[in-house]
Each structure stands twice: as C-alpha cells, then as structure tokens.
Symmetry: C2
Subunit: 419 residues, 2 copies
C-alpha cells in the first residue's frame, strides 16, 4: 500500500564507498601559493624537501664548556682534569676560536661550537678556578652536549609530505628552512543551497508560517571549521526550474554542492529529479539505512559531487558528518581529521534501529571515575535541541539494537564537556 517509499535503503558504508569512488577524479587539483604565516590548516600541494641545514651550524644544547672529549678521557671526581679557558663563543656570533689540546671555550645553549671541540660539558659538572682554569670531574662522550649541523634536518630530507594539513610546528619547520611561501591545495569551494517555500532568512513577525532557514548558517559554519570556502546559493522555492538553475550555478562555481530539503520521495521532493536531469551519472545513492537522515541522496553531475541533505537541520548535520566531512578531506587529498571521543557509561539504554546506523545524541558528563553519557529524551530529528543540548553522539551499528544502561560506549564529542 505505501505509494511513495524508498525502494531500497543503502547501508552507510556502501553509500560512502559509492560516493568516494565516483568522486575520486573530482579532487581539487589546483593549488596556490600563500605566505607561510597564512598557511596554517591548509593542505600541502607538494612535498617539501629541505634545501638547508637545521641547525645551520654545530651548536651547544647546554650551557657549559666546549672541549675536546679526548682531553677528558681520564677525568673523574677522583682525578679531575683542568683545562685552560681561552674564550667564549657568544650567542648569535660566528665563533673564530679554536680549541686546542688542554683548552676549553665557554658556550651557552644555542651558541656555535668552536673549531677543534667535539663535546660540551654542562656547567653543573664543572668548577671555575683561579686564572681562567676550569676543573672537570667527569668524562664526556664525543658530540655530547652538541646538536650537529643538519642533525635535525639536512638538505634532501623530505620534511613534509604532500597532503599534510599544516600545523603550527609545520609552519615553524617551513620558516626555519627559509621558505617564505607554501604551495597549498586551493580551498574546496562548496555551494550551499536551501529549498522550501516556507523558508526565510529571518522573521520578526509573530504570526507567520515562515520558517527561518538554519541549514545554510549551520552547514556554512561546519564547512568553515573544516577549512572550506562557502558559496551561498541562497533559498529557492520548491520549483523545478528554480532548483535546477541554482544547482547549475553551484556546479559551475563550486567543487561540491550541498542542497537541503526536498530530498525524499514525495511529490514535493523535487531535488533528486532535478539532479538527475542535469547530467550523468546523477543520483548514485538515494535513501540510506540510517536514522536520522534516511532521505539522504548522493550524486555526481559533470564530475562534481552533489549531496542532497534532508531538510531538518539535525538530519542535515548528521548526514554532513557521515558523508560530507570525509568527502571534503578526499577532495583536498588529506586524511579526515580524527574527532575527539571518550568512553562513557550509558545512564539509560539506547535503541538502534536494526539494519540501520542510528546516531543517538547524548549529554556526556564527568563522573567520579569517568564519564557518563545521558541519552537525550528528545531524539526526533525535527527538534533542534536534540543537537544543541547534546555534546556527543553514539554511533549504533547496524548489527546492534538495544545497548543497555551501564554499558560502556564510545561517544564522539560534538561539544565541550561541562563540569
């Protein structure tokens, strides 16, 4: 009797693979050159191979005295050796001194090692005597207390792989190698389109049947957090022509289009047909065995991915996490960032829908001996508070049904854990 049903729901993993396979060729190939200081979070388009030495010279890594280790070969507390202090290697200055037999040169952490010396003895293990003489009570290994020129990085060493998402320490490495610029993958441009006759950007009226569109602001925020560039495709009415025109604009201006609502199989669900009418292969997946966000569609048109997300913001966010987040990483050739998780004990049982991936929103609290996860009472995807009140999601696999209270589960955190 059901007249409008999904013929078959695809499993999450199958749907994901299908999307990734079809979009393999869609990766963002264009790169751009940006100043190193602006490159944080960007993805390297080319591996970086060092052309300089780090450090650029042999340097002391402790405060003390540069010596010839051979001179202290027999030094011990019973048999201290005394060397003649012949000068100081000053920080930041080229050292013209040479350490000869029986001699020592004062050094500080970071100062250049004088010629002839092959070790630095920490000042704590020495004593300064009259007449610029230094007493040593321990022997020292060759190159002890020194970082050698190029020991950290030598020319020809691959320092950062293509596909690296640049972290502060990587920016440091690029800077110390003398690189002023970095060649990074262009940001993914993502078009965000909302459909629905009821949608407005804001409303002040009390008596209205309009609904404020939250999908564009929420998805734009999620996209920016992940380093994408957002192109706002606006709100269009439930009208084939308007939807197609907006999608076409998205396809021409962006690398990926997200369109919300109208994604199901009812007569008002115009998006899947609109997508199919724009080119091949069109919809790859329509309907996913997941809750919420079952009416999710994944498509490729003109080599570009289009993701058709359900209209409820909670569903759109969850489908975004499952499909768009990894897709964005694929498009720039970087791994998907690992999300923070905690192990927590369920306060109340949760129920998955057998055969479906169920994303249960929970509130994680710190307990005495660990974390508790309290499933939110409101789990309906129509309720925004089912996401706003949550700080974590339990991903219940297709094979699970009920997870009992007291069981330990992995919670992916979506927000801070308050005390």
């Amino acid at each position: 009797m059901p007249r409008e049903h999904f013929r078959q729901l695809m499993r999450v993993e199958t749907a994901r693979r299908s999307l990734f396979r079809a979009t393999r060729a869609a990766s963002v190939r264009r790169s751009e050159v940006v100043p190193v200081q602006d490159a944080m979070g960007r993805v390297l388009a080319r591996s970086v191979v060092a052309r300089r030495y780090l450090p650029a010279f042999d340097l002391a890594v402790v405060d003390g005295y540069a010596v010839r280790s051979v001179d202290l070969h027999y030094a011990s507390s019973k048999n201290p050796r005394i060397l003649q202090l012949v000068g100081e290697s000053r920080l930041g200055e080229i050292c013209r001194l040479r350490v000869r037999e029986g001699q020592a040169v004062a050094v500080a952490t970071g100062s250049a090692i004088p010629k002839g010396a092959d070790a630095v003895v920490m000042i704590e293990h020495t004593r300064k005597l009259m007449g610029e003489k230094i007493e040593f009570r321990t022997r020292v290994g060759s190159w002890e207390g020194i970082t050698r020129k190029g020991e950290d990085i030598a020319p020809g060493r691959m320092v950062l792989d293509r596909g690296s998402r640049l972290r502060p320490e990587d920016i440091g490495a690029l800077k110390t190698l003398g690189l002023g610029n970095a060649r990074v993958v262009r940001k993914v441009r993502v078009g965000v389109l909302s459909t629905g006759n009821e949608l407005v950007d804001s409303t002040r009226k009390r008596n209205t049947a309009k609904i404020v569109d939250l999908n564009r602001p929420i998805l734009s925020g999620m996209l920016r957090q992940l380093g994408a560039e957002v192109v706002d495709l606006g709100i269009v009415k439930d009208d084939k022509k308007a939807i197609k025109a907006a999608l076409r604009r998205g396809l021409s201006e962006t690398d990926l289009v997200l369109v919300t609502a109208g994604s199901s199989v009812g007569k008002r669900d115009l998006v899947p047909n609109c997508i199919n009418s724009l080119g091949r292969p069109g919809m790859l997946v329509h309907g996913v065995a997941m809750r919420p966000a079952m009416p999710t569609g994944l498509a490729v048109v003109q080599g570009k991915p289009i993701v058709s997300l359900p209209g409820f913001p909670v569903s759109a966010m969850l489908a975004f996490r499952v499909f768009v987040r990894p897709l964005l990483a694929n498009l720039v050739g970087a791994p998907e960032p690992v999300e923070p998780t905690v192990r927590a004990v369920l306060k109340e049982k949760i129920a998955g829908m057998p055969g479906h991936r169920t994303f249960v929103r929970v509130r994680v609290c710190r307990g005495k001996d660990g974390y508790w996860a309290v499933p939110l009472k409101a789990q309906r995807s129509s309720l925004l508070t089912s996401m706003v009140d949550a700080n974590g999601i339990v991903d219940v696999l297709e094979s699970s049904s009920i997870i009992k209270a007291g069981a330990e589960v992995t919670v992916t955190l979506t927000g801070d854990i308050r005390i």
Copy 2:
C-alpha cells in the same frame, strides 16, 4: 658540586593547580557584542534564555493529511475510514482552514496544522480516492506527525549556558530565536615574547650563528587555533632591562604573557628574576618534573599570569599544551576542549623518567586491526623534527618507567593519521 640546579621540581599536577588557583581572579571579565554569524567558536558571556517559540506554530513533520485523531479511532486495514479532503495547508502560508468531523487537510513537512486537527497521517499510509476522498487504514495517536508550537524551545527555556563555546548548531539556535547578536567573552589577548641574543626573524646568510626564532610563530599559531588574540612582543636580547621592558608592555597590553628561553637557572637565565622584579607574587613555580620542558616557570604579576617557557620550540610547545591550553580555557570561563585520542599498540618500548611526566612523541599508523604507535627515534627537545615527524604524544605518568612494546597506550593526536 652542581652549582646551578633547580632546588626542587614541582609535579605537573601540583604546578597546574598552583597556577590555576593564583589566576582564578584573572579571568577575562569584559565581554563584547558580536553579530551571531561571527560568533562561532566564541564563548557566551551570558546564558541565553528563549523569548520565542520554536517552532512558532504547530507544524507537520511528515507529508500527509492533517486529521482529527478521534475520526480514525477505529480505522484499520480491515476497516478503512474515508475522510473528505477540504483543502491544503501550503508551506510558508498561514492556514485559515479548520478540520471538522470527517475532514482532512493535505499538509507537507513544515506546513502549519489547520485548526481542529490534532494529528498528521503519513501519505504512505493513505490512498486518494475519487471525489477528493482519502482512505485511511491505520489509526493515529493524538499529536502524532506534528511538532507542537514551542515543543523544541519555549519562552523562558535556557538554551545555551554562559561559558558555552558556540558551535554551528548553537549559531542556528541563536538565529532561530531571532537573536542578531551574541554577547561573548572578549578574546584572551596573549603577548608572545622571545628572548635570546642569537634570535632573528629570518636569515638568508649561509654563514651565520643566528637562529630563526620559531617560538613566536609556533606559539602564535597554537594560540590562534584556540581562539586567542596574539600580541607580538618581538625578540629581545638577553638583557635584564630589555626583558623587563617587554614584560611590562605585555602586562599592560595583554591578559597573559608567554616568554620563551632564559627560563632555567643559569647565569644567562634572566627571565625568572626579571619576572620577580616586576611585582608580587612573581614566580609561583620554577622547574617542573616533566620531560621535556623541565625549566618551565609559572608566575603571576599584577594579577596576570606569565608563563616562562623553555627556548627549544619542542619544549615550549609541550609546556604550552600542559599549562597554557587549560589556562586559556579558564580565563574565558569555558572547559578545555577535549583533544582527539586513539588507543594504539606500541611498536617499541618507551621509557619514562621515574618521578617525571614524560611526553614521548610517536607516529601513529593504521594497522590491520587498529593503530600502531611508533616512538620517534629522535626524542631530544632540541630537535624540531621530534615534533614535526610526530602525529601523537604518549603521556607517561610519574609512576611509570618502561612501557613495553606490544602494550596498548592512549595517544593524544597532534596531527592527522596518514594511511
């Protein structure tokens, strides 16, 4: 014999507590008003209580027919009930229709429920007959298929607590409540100062004893990732007057000062004395039982925290993670964000220093049945690659010494896991 030693190293947890206690009064109290769309990642200065209903009217959450549930009380597949379709509640339009006994009104997801109706039957469970008649083969519960006005959020409900770090879904909530602006805690202003005669911002010369300062760019990057505002206090020479002047500037212009190098107990380590000369209480902690970053100092002057970080960038980064990261959260009154971790099997044994917290840098790789953690050969804090080559850190507690190969450990991820 050791002449210049730390008298006593403080345990990490004790040092942290001492810093947090002394800086409790230092929290950033000033707030500012920003447009909601620019508030992502910011911390709410005041709790947000709803003044509107969400949804603003009773609405359908499925496509179907709005009915009086009482009319379908006896409906079943054996005993279908037929109702008269009297109109449609259009999306985005105020509905003037009323459902009377024996009547139904067509609705779409998001459209207003006509007066008189108290349930929506999904279109999949109905059949349209001739003469605008609809056949129903199931009963329906009262308020099924409907989200009631205010069911998600009603006026007076606390929607977001003070101290919430705003996420995309929170921005959505603020927007739908009609809030154009949000009152957020002012960003923490952090002064970043490097000390050392050898330091320069960049160098092109091959024959030089200068060292490129990486601490300011690296720490600035880490600070910005955490939502702080950076004030660059530059590089100063190892000179008391210069250091004090820069610290004074930092204290007057910022909420927190980070100063790198000169943090130990040698005669060149001028920073702790400079800090103490600026005011009370001065250095709270000097020397922490941790590796690397043992010569870390924690101070409060004029009610403002100063963190004296070791000069090696690797040490500075690790001390930043341990002390500055949680301090930043405290200062804005938000919890410290949970970092991503994975459980991984050690490929090789690691050795902690008994009585010290040891931060071992590892490379995490995906194995067949889980993750492997390979400790980097280079662990010396003087080597930048000991951080750049790593994507994770194993925090070896004071009570541990050797952790054997094959043991499972928790790794805090500092970078992506490549395939």
